[in-house]
Every structure is written in C-alpha cells, then in structure tokens.
Amino acid sequence: MGSPIAMTRPDPTPILELRNLEVCFDTRAGIVRGLRGVSFALEPGKTLALVGESGSGKSVTASAVMGLIQLPGAITGGDILWKGESLLGRAGARRAARLRGKQMSMVFQDPMTSLDPLMSIGAHLVEVQRRHLGLSRRAAAARGAELLDAVGITDPARRMGQHPHELSGGMRQRVMIALAIACEPELLIADEPTTALDVTIQAQVLDLLADLQRDMGLSILLITHDLGVVAGLCEEVAVMYAGEIVETGAADDLFGRARHPYTQGLVRATPRLTDRSERLVSIDGAPPGLLDPPSGCAFAPRCPQTTGACAARPPLRAAPGGHGAHACWNARPAAWEPAARPVQKASFA
C-alpha cells in the first residue's frame, strides 16, 4: 500500500490525491476502521467513480476530502493532497478552509434534507456567493437566478423566492448543484447524487453533471453504487470494499475485464436488459465488520476462489500488461468473460 496509484499517465499533477488515507471512528463498541489505507489520484477535468456497496467507505472518503469528518471520527493516517499540497495538519486545514465551498464543493445524496427549510432558494444562493465571491446582495441574487437557469430550473426569478418545501426532489437536487457550482469550483464531489431521485430525473441530473463538466472543465469525484451511472459518466473507476480500494481501472475496461472477484461479482449482480436469464446473481455473505477487520483479504470469506495466500492482505498492484490495478492474490479473468457490457454507455443520454 506504499505509493499512490496513478491511474493513467502520471504526468499532470492530480487535482486531488489520496495517499494511504485512514479514518477511524471511536465508538462505544470500539474503534471502527472506516478507511484502511485508501489511495487514488484524480486528474484535472476527469471523472473518477468510487463504487462499492453500503458501508464500504465511499462516503467516508468524500467526507474526509471535504473536511467533514466529525467526532467520534478522525483521520488517523495518510494524506490528502490538493494539487500536490496537503490538506491535513494545521496549515493544511487552513488551506482546506479556503478551498471548501469555493474550489471544491459537494452535492449530497438526499436533496430533501440538504437545504435549510426556513431559507428561500435565493437566500441560499446569495449566502454562498457573498461568502466566497464577495458579491453584493443584489449582484449575488442576479447571478443566483442565472445559476438556476444554468442548471435547468425554469422560471428562476420566481424560484429564488420559494422555499425548499415548494420544490420537487429533482429541482432541489438541481438547486444543490447550482449551489455547488456557484463559485466555479475545480472539483465537484457528488455523493450518490441520483439515489434519492426518480429514474427519469436521475438521467437528467447525470446529463446536467456531464454538461457542466464539459463547459466548466470540472473534475468530478462521483460516488455511487450504480454501475450504470459509472458507465455513462466516468473515465476512471475505483472499487471499494471494507474501507479499502480493491480494484481500479478505466471505466471502459473494468466492467468487461474485471480482475478482482469482488468487482466481477458486482458486475454480475447488475441487472442487464440483454440478459435473458431470470435470476440475478448475488454475492453470498456480507461485508466484514470494520470494528475488527480481518488481517488478510477482507473479501476472502465471500470469495469463490480463495487460496492460502488470502490470509495475508493483498496490496493494490498494477495489473500485468494492462490498465488499472487490483488487490487480489489470485486475480484472473472472470469465467464468463467476454460478456456484454453491463449497461450500454450513454444509455441515459
């Protein structure tokens, strides 16, 4: 788990880089190890997806980057680098405070509860612009209406005066996105931005993110458990399991050529329109508790191809002769390869 894994060319300085990041939660039951050494790098203008099931540490990773880990949680090891400079420690925290909400911003999972119910949409937009851009109230309000227009909200002047409860979930998520891009950030972290939305609205919101990325040159860290979303929006994928990254690679490659048995299981568990078999394949068992994580491979108890080597923790190693990396002693192509892609790219365009 030594050096970070650069996922494509290591040439441009990554906008965001995590090095062996560890996060612990000191709970009554004991110390829960939420992140157990997470490393990845995100290059400017790219989209990286963090995928994995609930509790795998995706959201904790996002919270750590945004500086939102609160007691009883704490970052206990590793580093977070913004354009090569650490965001941890005393000086790093000051740097992070200047970036937060301005150069890096975040869209959350649940738009229903993410806005202050007592404040109008306009007041939210004015507040963040006054804070970070030093605009006057009037200028911030005018620009706020433009932002609402840019995220596809009709009749923005009227919406500015409305309160969150007067808007639908999809509209609120658009407002959250408008707030996130209000100060023209370089990095947008989207934590399951479509999970709480209707399927048709999901596609619209993802299209919006893709458009914004193209127009603003955003780098996006997308957290999701939906592989369809990944295929449509992302270039790079990192698969998380039990607080660590088990496989990384280009989105185009990963689904067809997954090497880690967990990724293979995830791909197989994704419903496909092209597949006529009646049963969905699932991965037996449950992820290990992170209160006392296994010393060896965390996936071994559920893995169909364990060997004696799995008693030791496998490092994330570059795959021989190819793209990406995986943390498995026995990595091999999936038995069912080559399969059709799980979801066709741009299926929601």
């Binding site: 945004m66 500086g67 939102l68 405070a97 970036l99 937060r100 909400g101 301005k102 911003s105 975040m106 959350f108 649940d110 509860t113 993410s114 806005l115 202050d116 119910p117 007592l118 404040m119 109008s120 507040e127 963040v128 804070r131 970070h132 309160h163 409860h165 959250m176 707030l179 996130a180």
Partner: protein, 306 residues
Amino acid sequence: MAQFLIRRALQGMLVILGVTLVVFVATRMVGDPVQMMLPLSASAEQRAAFSQQLGLDQPLGTQFLAFVGDLLRFDFGDSLWQRRPAIEIVLTKLPRTLELIAAGFGFAVILGVPLGALAAMRPDGLWDRIIVSLSLIGLSVPQFWLGLILVMVFAVGLGLFPTSGSGSLSHLVLPALTLGIPSMARIMMLTRSSVIAELNQQYVRTARARGLPFAHILFGHAMRNALVPVLTLAGWEVISAWAGYTVVVETVFAWPGLGMTAMGAINHSDMFLLQAIVFVVALGIVLVSLLLDLLYKLIDPRIDLA
C-alpha cells in the same frame, strides 16, 4: 390570513365564554357572599334584601344571561370586597402583573436561549455540564420555596433587595427571579436539545461543505430552526405564569398584582371581582396563543395558517 384571524377570534370568544361559565357556576357553588358580607346578627329579611340587591335570588340561568349581557358592555358589577367597579380594580392591578411577567420571562429568555445554545455547541463539554447541572437545579426547585430562599439570602441575609412590596426596580428583582428561574431552566434545556438536534441535520452538513463558518451556520441556520419548539415552550411559560405562577409569586412577595387580588377575591367570596379577573386572564391566554401562531408563521414558511 383574514379568514384565519376571524376564525380564531370566534374560537377565542367561545373559549372565553366557556371559562366565564365555569367560573360563574363555581363561584356560586363555593361560597355565599351574603353569609360573608353581612354580620352574623343580620336578620333573614336583611339577608333576603341583600341577596335581591345582588340579583342572587334569581334562577341561575337568568343570572347567567344577565351576566353575559353586562359582560358585553364590559360591566362586571361592583366588587363586594372593595365596593368599586370590579373591572376598575382589575385594570389598576393588571400593569403590575404584566411588569412582573415581562421581567421574569425576559430574564428567562435572555439567559435561557443563549446559554442553551452555548451548551449545545459542545455536548458533554465543560460548559454543557455546568449549564445542564444548573438547569436541573432550576427545574427541581418548587417556586414558593425558591422565593423564600431568595428572600432569606438576598433580602434578609445580604440586605440587597427589599423582602416584599413594590414601587421600585429593586422591588422587582426577587419576584422576577422567582418567576423566571424555573422558566429559564426549562427554556435552556429545550434550546440545548433543539440546537443539538439541528446541528446534526443534513442541511448543516451541506452548509459546512459550502465552506460557511461555524458561527454563521449556528446563528444563521441552526438557531432559527431550533427556535420553533422553543417558541412553543416560551408561549406555554408566559401562559402558565399569567394564569397561575404569578399567584404564588405575588403572594410570597406581597406584589400587588392580579394574582394577589385573585387570592383576596376568593377569600372574600367576591364573585364579581373574580369573574372580572378570570375574564381578563382568559382573554390574555387567547391573545398570547394567537400571537404565537402568527410568530410560527413568521419563522417557518412551511406553516400554513389556513
């Protein structure tokens, strides 16, 4: 809005009518003013004449209709005890009680809300422990006992304030504290738990992710949301002081307000004065709860008054 106000006005009138009916019946069942007012040696004819003069010889229904008729003209009859119009007595005592409630309640809110918020900023921290312990004491102390202890310490012992009576600001301090301390403790505890709950809300997390400073999030977002339940409690505090606690406090401190007058009216079987007092108190409660509803609407746009 207009519809809401009209409906509330009609409801309020019903409430006041109901309360006056209860008091009307109760005062006539509990004591006989004729027995109280006339000397033991009075003859049966004198008693009958006095009873007739007050209208007490009429059937209860007739009496009540006459009472309601007078009430519409704001005429509550003459006090039996003080021999002047009952409403006049009430109006001279009313400002003293309002003064006491304003001082006690003001103290409770001005200290209770900020201290509750301070405790909430770091649950289980030093300030939180101190504040919670103090409010537990404030919550458990009976009001009459608190009043007596305050008198013993600050008036008798230290001589800082007068023991009782009214007339100056220093007279107001101890009764206002007696009225306000338990109230403050309750407001403090509720503000604390309410602010803690709000600080754990998702919108606080998103506000932090937007890079807003903690003080801004606390005062600009969390406090305002936290105040909705606190407002409910504050309204209850005012109403219960107005309709009850002032009786205790005014009696302990000989504060010449409505509460003490009500005690006197009961002791003298002065049904007319008591009816006037209860009417004014009921009117006050109706007005305070109307004001509360309007304040809710002001704070929370989701509340629909219609």
